[in-house]
């Protein structure tokens, strides 16, 4: 077996040294009643080409995003990732290292994390950022918990523009706890969150661009929250937008969480992605997750270590700020490499290009008589079809066009959203793609 380095002779020799007659003897502590008493319904080992054929057959039954016109976003975006990124993250020393517990031989990972933290802090306009979370949704839940620890208050209000999966994740994380208020879906960008903030409020959670693509007025919400002593948590699911839009930190956010997938990471059916979490410096000891800090070695050389670990589970156990351990190291690396390649110049251009393609999409849809709900957007928007969205999307999918996400898939049982469709464009969206979509929609709606 190709992954197992022992020959039969090796095993015999080792058993001799151990003084055991067989490997079975080493399992003596296992009750006989449960040891090897089963025959799983599973195949035996296969040549590599057999495994590859099996997996290729599965992959071949999926319609890849690159196979045709593609307009799905809603929290995960199809961008071009430079070949360099994927090449570099596969280098042995990145791919097969563990969490950098031994800093002397982990400076690669540690310096990268320090660079990543700096990039995230600058991009979001915040003072500090951690070394990554699982993804945007769990980072949002952790941010809510963090805000409750900081303010020692319970009430948390989730905007109606928050991604429904993010909302559901927060609900689950807080299951059984008091104080969570989830506002109704706000597909037209409307919101009554300000009125609900009171002295008991720990935080409000808003998303911008929101789930429906609208850009939210962060400053006004920050002022309203701060007036009542509440924190403003800003969620960003399309991180590329920050190349064009003002940083939440510059607008008064206290905690910014984001999904970093758009930079460096492929769609991969939803994971693994990389959660970003940044905040004001004064909250740093309430942050969840790993933090990497600069220090010096015994000879005074600059070096990096994991730090402030008294917040963490492996030190503090039940008093930890979170139970998170493994995070998204390799995805953070991909993010950091891609962002290094972009730089300010590249990210700015990429963001403009996305907005430009989305503008072309919005204009084409409107030109075809389809109602676009957004007055503002970055690269994503919501349209109201004259009929339920699901069958339309299915029909176009059958023709090879992936036309967007029916809101009802994430908000079932709500008639008011049944006709809504969320569509995104990116730098990969061509004029021909848009024309194919518009033609397809016209055909279905006729």
């Amino acid at each position: 077996m190709r992954y197992l380095p022992h020959s039969a002779a090796d095993r015999e020799h080792m058993l001799g040294v151990i003084g055991a007659g067989s490997i079975d003897e080493l399992f003596a502590p296992v009750p006989r009643s449960v040891l090897g008493t089963f025959s799983p319904d599973l195949p035996d080992h296969q040549p590599e080409f057999g495994v590859e054929a099996h997996m290729r057959a599965l992959a071949g039954r999926n319609h890849a995003a690159g196979d045709g016109p593609f307009f799905i976003g809603a929290g995960a975006y199809r961008h071009h990732v430079p070949a360099t990124v994927d090449h570099l993250i596969q280098r042995s020393e990145w791919l097969t290292a563990y969490t950098p517990y031994q800093p002397e031989i982990s400076q690669g990972t540690l310096q990268m994390l320090f660079e990543f933290q700096t990039q995230v802090a600058r991009l979001t306009g915040m003072e500090v950022a951690n070394a990554s979370m699982y993804d945007g949704s769990t980072a949002t839940a952790e941010a809510v918990l963090m805000a409750r620890r900081i303010t020692r208050k319970n009430k948390v209000i989730l905007s109606g523009g928050l991604h429904p999966h993010y909302r559901d994740t927060v609900v689950t994380y807080l299951s059984g706890e008091e104080g969570l208020q989830c506002l109704s879906p706000s597909p037209e960008g409307q919101g009554d969150i300000v009125d609900r903030i009171d002295d008991q409020t720990a935080a409000i959670v808003i998303q911008t661009p929101d789930f429906y693509g609208h850009l939210r007025n962060v400053s006004a919400l920050a002022d309203a929250a701060h007036e009542k002593g509440a924190l403003l948590i800003v969620v960003v699911t399309e991180i590329v937008s920050l190349g064009l839009l003002e940083a939440p930190g510059a607008l008064g956010a206290d905690i910014v969480v984001a999904e970093g997938q758009s930079i460096g990471n492929p769609l991969t059916f939803g994971g693994p992605y990389v959660g970003l979490l940044a905040c004001r410096e004064k909250f740093v000891r309430q942050m969840p997750g790993r933090l990497c800090g600069e220090t010096v070695d015994a000879e005074g050389q600059r070096g990096f270590v994991l730090t402030l670990s008294t917040r963490e589970q492996h030190i503090r156990r039940e008093k930890a700020t979170s139970n998170i351990c493994t995070n998204s190291g390799l995805c953070a690396l991909a993010f950091s490499i891609h962002l290094s390649l972009l730089g300010e110049k590249g990210l700015t251009r990429l963001a403009r290009l996305n907005h430009s393609r989305a503008t072309a999409l919005a204009d084409a849809l409107a030109g075809a008589g389809i109602e676009v709900l957004n007055r503002t957007f970055f690269n994503e928007m919501t349209v109201r079809l004259p009929q339920p969205a699901v069958p339309v999307v299915e029909a176009l999918a059958a023709k090879g066009i992936l036309a967007g996400v029916p809101v009802s898939r994430l908000e079932p049982g709500k008639p008011e959203v049944e006709n809504l469709l969320v569509l995104a464009a990116t730098e990969l969206t061509t004029d021909a793609d848009i024309a194919a979509l518009v033609d397809g929609l016209k055909g279905e709606l006729a």
Binding site: P29, D41, R61, L95, Y134, T172, G271, E299, E318, L339
Partner: protein, 486 residues
């Protein structure tokens, strides 16, 4: 040689991408166009390539040498897994595509679930947890949901042995449970009497690792499980050490109700310097109704996704469907090994640990002896007594000999723990070389050659780092010298 930070290499004029500079109007931006500078330096592609290649050379990795981190299971990461995960049919599909366009993806998830259930003899599996700790959260939430469904929501205590991973008490506390610690007995396993004594109507669950973090199989686990169930509580098993028994022992046969499985430990998905992981949770019949969404459904030949929590479900733990990229890698690994190969891998992992024990136990001290170890062997620092050399010093000296140190000071049940897990990936030749080094170091330590240990590492990219300074004066991001001096 030191590698500069990217902020010391790049600048705002450099970029490693070519994109057109399109004009846009402010019409659709609602006055929210960025005014603050991004201040992100760019690297051209040659600069980026060299920066990240050079940085990487300052890392240790499995591919460069043995990585005997106990409880972390640093095994070989096959590159076939990486290749399969990058097929466009897996890497370039969106989680919200119509399910009719992702039938192959759903089949892969169904097959992975089948493997996990067959290997554990359980009734259901929740794939979506993003890592082991997230899986613990999932499993404990399922337990909480089950108690509530049964009108047992008052149970507020979770029993956790002192040898447990830190994530266990952290998870229980996260859910509002009071954590009660259970002592180990003199054999390094959980004291059954202590468990029985602690059980009551207020106990919701026990969280137990098996094989445990001392590398020992909990021989009385069936008895413990029975007692726990009899008390109306559930049995959560931390599956971090499943590598020792996969294909050989089914946790379901031991009476567990929930167990997370670290795909990044047992099933070879790469650790990547700290993730991404993936922590599917297998569930007993009792807990299955409380599984989170999403899960794959089947209607004849057609697969679907249940994405919304029905009655009993604990809800949703994350956006989308979990770590698909890791599922593909793990499934590829399972198919490569087959049921026969997985069992052999577990057996070889146990063989390797016992071999190290046999070759080292005359020089190193084994706190709990008397039975074979499983996939890892625990030593304590008694053999260093009086030498002036600590476990940490010893570990740093290993770095100078070309090895990543073992896990240190964990589990907490012994003083100066050294937990060595070779995994099945290490050859006899490598184990023998490791043994020679460890013996030479131990003899040198006993001979009182303190300097070698206190000064170590001397041959690593850096000497020992000042962690106190890092924590007292946190510098968590780069600041140019001028700004830093303020």
């Amino acid at each position: 040689p030191a590698e500069p930070l990217l902020f010391e290499i790049g600048d705002h004029d450099h970029s490693g991408v070519d994109l057109p500079d399109v004009e846009i109007s402010d019409d659709r931006l609602g006055g929210l166009r960025r005014k603050a500078p991004l201040d992100l330096p760019g690297l051209t592609e040659p600069e980026a390539m060299r920066h990240y290649v050079r940085l990487s050379r300052r890392n240790y990795s499995i591919d460069s040498g043995m990585y005997p981190l106990g409880s972390c299971t640093m095994k070989h990461n096959p590159r076939l897994n990486e290749k399969m995960a990058r097929l466009p049919g897996f890497a370039d599909i969106h989680p919200l595509q119509p399910v009719s366009t992702v039938q192959g993806a759903l089949m892969a998830m169904e097959q992975l679930s089948h493997w996990l259930m067959e290997l554990t003899n359980t009734a259901a599996v929740a794939l979506s947890p993003k890592a082991g700790a997230h899986g613990e959260l999932c499993g404990m939430m399922a337990i909480k949901a089950a108690h509530e469904a049964r009108g047992q929501g008052h149970r507020r205590i979770v029993l956790v042995p002192e040898s447990a991973h830190g994530t266990n008490p952290a998870t229980a506390a996260f859910l509002g449970y009071a954590v009660r610690s259970i002592d180990a007995n003199e054999n390094g396993t959980v004291d059954v009497a202590a468990v029985k004594a602690a059980l009551s109507d207020d106990v919701a669950a026990i969280m137990l690792t098996n094989p445990n973090t001392c590398g020992l199989f909990e021989s009385q686990i069936i008895e413990i499980a029975a007692a726990v169930h009899e008390a109306g509580a559930y049995f959560y098993c931390d599956g971090a050490n499943f590598n020792a028994i996969m294909g050989v022992v089914r946790p379901g046969d031991l009476g567990i109700d929930a167990m997370h499985i670290n795909l990044h430990k047992t099933f070879s998905t790469p650790h990547g310097g700290g993730g991404p992981g993936s922590g599917p949770v297998v569930l007993s019949e009792a807990l299955a109704p409380h599984a989170p969404v999403p899960f794959v459904t089947r209607d004849g030949d057609s697969l679907g996704l249940a994405e919304h929590a029905g009655e009993g479900s604990l809800g949703r733990l994350t956006a989308f469907h979990g770590q698909m990229g890791m599922y593909i890698r793990a499934l590829t690994y399972m198919l490569s090994h087959g049921a026969d190969g997985l069992a052999q891998a577990a057996r070889d992992a146990v063989l390797n640990a016992n071999y190290l024990k046999a070759r080292l136990d005359d020089l190193f001290t084994v706190p709990f002896d008397g039975q074979p170890v499983m996939h890892e062997v625990l030593f304590d620092d008694s053999f260093l007594k009086g030498s002036g050399i600590s476990t940490l010093d010893f570990a740093k000296a290993m770095i100078d000999e070309g090895y990543h140190p073992m896990t240190m000071y964990f589990p907490l049940v012994v003083q100066g723990a050294m937990l060595i897990e070779p995994t099945e990936s290490e050859s006899l030749q490598t184990l023998d070389a490791f043994v020679e080094t460890m013996r030479e170091l131990a003899e040198d330590a006993k001979a009182g050659n303190v300097g070698r240990f206190a000064q170590a590492p001397m041959r690593a990219p850096l000497r020992r780092l000042d962690e106190t300074r890092a924590a007292r004066q946190p510098r968590l991001k780069y600041q140019p010298l001028a700004a830093a001096a303020e």
